[in-house]
C-alpha cells in the first residue's frame, strides 16, 4: 500500500487518477444529459432507482445469497456442492429474469405476437432441465470418485473424497 494515500493494495494511485481524469467528465456528461432531458428521464426518480438498485443488491440480494450458500454448504456433500451451487445460481437468475414474463406485466391482449408463450410452464421446464443436469453431473462425479478409490490393479493411496470444495 502506498504510504499515506490511504488506498487499498489493489488500487493503483496513478491508475485511479487517470481513471478519474477520463471518467469524471463522462459521468458529468451523463448527469448533464439526464438533467437536460429531465422531462423524459425524471432525474429524481432515476437517481432513486440507481441508488435503490445498489442498496437492494447489497442489503437484500447478496445477504440472501450468502445465507443460501452457508446453508447449502452444510446440507450438500462437499464434492457435490460446486454443481449444486451452479444449479442454484442458474435457477436464481432464470427466476429473476423470468418473473416479469411469468406475471405477464407487459402482455397486450390486442397483440398476441407479443409475449406469446406460456412463461410459467417454460420457466418451470428450464429449471427442471437445470436440475436434471445437476443430478447427472453429481452422479458422474460420484462414479468417477468411486473408480478412483477402487483401483483395479495397484493402490494409489487414499485421496481426499472432497476435492475442490469449501
Amino acid at each position: 500500500m502506498t504510504a499515506g494515500d490511504g488506498l487499498p493494495a489493489t488500487t493503483s494511485r496513478r491508475g485511479l487518477l487517470v481513471g478519474l481524469a477520463v471518467g469524471l467528465p463522462v459521468i458529468a456528461f451523463g448527469v448533464r444529459g439526464a438533467l437536460v432531458d429531465g422531462s423524459r428521464t425524471h432525474p429524481g426518480e432515476l437517481a432513486r432507482w440507481i441508488v435503490g438498485a445498489a442498496v437492494v443488491n447489497d442489503l437484500v440480494l447478496v445477504p440472501v445469497v450468502l445465507a443460501a450458500g452457508w446453508l447449502g454448504r452444510r446440507l450438500v456433500p462437499g464434492d457435490l456442492w460446486p454443481s449444486v451451487r451452479a444449479g442454484l445460481v442458474t435457477t436464481g437468475v432464470l427466476a429473476l429474469v423470468g418473473w416479469p414474463f411469468v406475471r405477464g406485466y407487459g402482455a397486450d391482449p390486442r397483440n398476441p405476437s407479443l409475449l406469446p408463450r406460456s412463461y410459467g410452464a417454460g420457466l418451470a421446464a428450464a429449471i427442471a432441465v437445470v436440475w436434471v443436469v445437476v443430478v447427472a453431473l453429481s452422479l458422474a462425479r460420484r462414479a468417477r470418485e468411486r473408480h478412483r478409490h477402487d483401483p483395479p490393479t495397484h493402490d494409489r493411496g487414499v485421496r481426499g473424497g472432497s476435492k475442490g470444495c469449501h
Binding site: T11, G15, V26, I27, R40, A53, R110, L115
Partner: protein, 408 residues
Amino acid sequence: MSGGSPASGPRWLAALRRRYTSDLHDTRSAAWLGIALGVAFGVCFATGVWSHLAQHPPGWFTYPARPAGLYRITQGAHVITGTAAIPLLLAKLWVVHPHLLAWPPARSLLHGVERLALLPLVGGALFLLLSGTANVARWYPWSFFFPRAHFWAAWITIGALIVHVGAKAAATRDALRRGTARRADPGSAPSPASAASGSPPDPVAPASPLPADRRAFLGGVAAASAALVVATAGGTVSPLGRLSVLAQRRPGVGPQGLPVNKTAAAARVLAPARDPAYRLAIEGAVARPVALSLSDLQALPQREATLPIACVEGWSASARWRGVPVRDLLALAGAGPRAEVTVESLQPSGLYRSSTLNPGQTADADTLLALALGGEPLHIDHGYPARLVGPNRPGVSQTKWVHRLVVR
C-alpha cells in the same frame, strides 16, 4: 474494491466480516469476472450508442444504409450481451461484498472518491441490466421514458467504470499473472511487490483456494449466463426459438408469420388506414407534389427485397417485402434520389409516428414503400396500406401506415 484493516472498526463489523468464509471472495475471482464484465459492458455501450445514433443521428454523423442486417446484429448483440452479463454482475458483487464493510469508510480523500465512484458503477450497472430486462418484458414500474433514462444512465455507468478500471487494471493484471490466488479480504492482501518477491504471505490471508473450486465457481456463473442466453435469445437467433422459453417473441408467430410491435388498434389508425380515400402524398422540396391512391401505387413497378425487422428490444425477423422503391416515388415528384425524406404515419400521435431517411438510405434501391409481405397485401398490423422498410434500420424507424413523404 477497497480496503481496511480487518481489526479496525466496531466489533460487530469485524465479527460480520469474519462471516465471509468462502475463499472465492478474492482478487482472482474478482479479476476474471471484472474482465468479463468489462467486455460485456463495452459491447453493450458501443452497440447502445450505435442504436442511439441510428435513431437520433447528430449532424456530424451519417448512419449507413448497408449492410442490411447490421442493426439486427448490433441490437441483438446488445440485448444478448446485457442478458449474459446479469449472472456475471451478481457474482462479481457477491465476490467483493466483504469490501462493503471496510473500516473506516474512507481513509483519505482519494480513497473516499474511489469508493464514492462505486455507487454510480454498482447502482448504474444494476439499473442498466434491470431496466433493459424489464423493457424486453415490456414492464415499466417507473414513470420515466425508458430509452432516455437507459441511455443517460449508461454514460454515468461507463464513466464510473472508467474510474474503476483505471484504479484496478494493475491489480487485475497482477492477480491473473500469478499462478495462485490470494485472499483480498479488507486489508489482508499483500502488496504486489511482496507477492512478486516471494515474501511470505500475509498471515491474515488463509491458504489459497484450490483452483478447481474457482474454476467450478466461474464455470457455474458462465453456465448461468449460457442458460439465460438460450432462454431468451430465440427471438432473434431463430434456431433457439423453441428453447427460448423466456423470449419476448417466437419466430413465425404473428400476422403473416411476423411479430408485431404496435398494432393498428393501439396506434388508432384502423379507420384512416382502411379509408378508400387514402392517398400517399409526396411533397416538400419537390418539383410537383403528387398524391397517389393505393391502386396507383400498385400500378407502379414493384421491387422485392428480403429485409429484417429488427426491434430495439432485441428480437428480429426477416421477411420478403414487395413495394415501390422510395427513390422511384421521389422521381415521380421530380425530386432527385439523394434527398433527406421525412416519412409520416397516419398515427395521430406517438414518438415514432414519423422517421427520417438520410440521402444514402433514400438512394438505396431496397428502401421500399412496401405494399406486400410474403406475397400478400400487408396485414393492417404490419402497416396496410403502405409501410416503409429499408436495410439496416431500427424497427421503430420502419414507419407503418405511411401517408406522407416530405422531401427536405
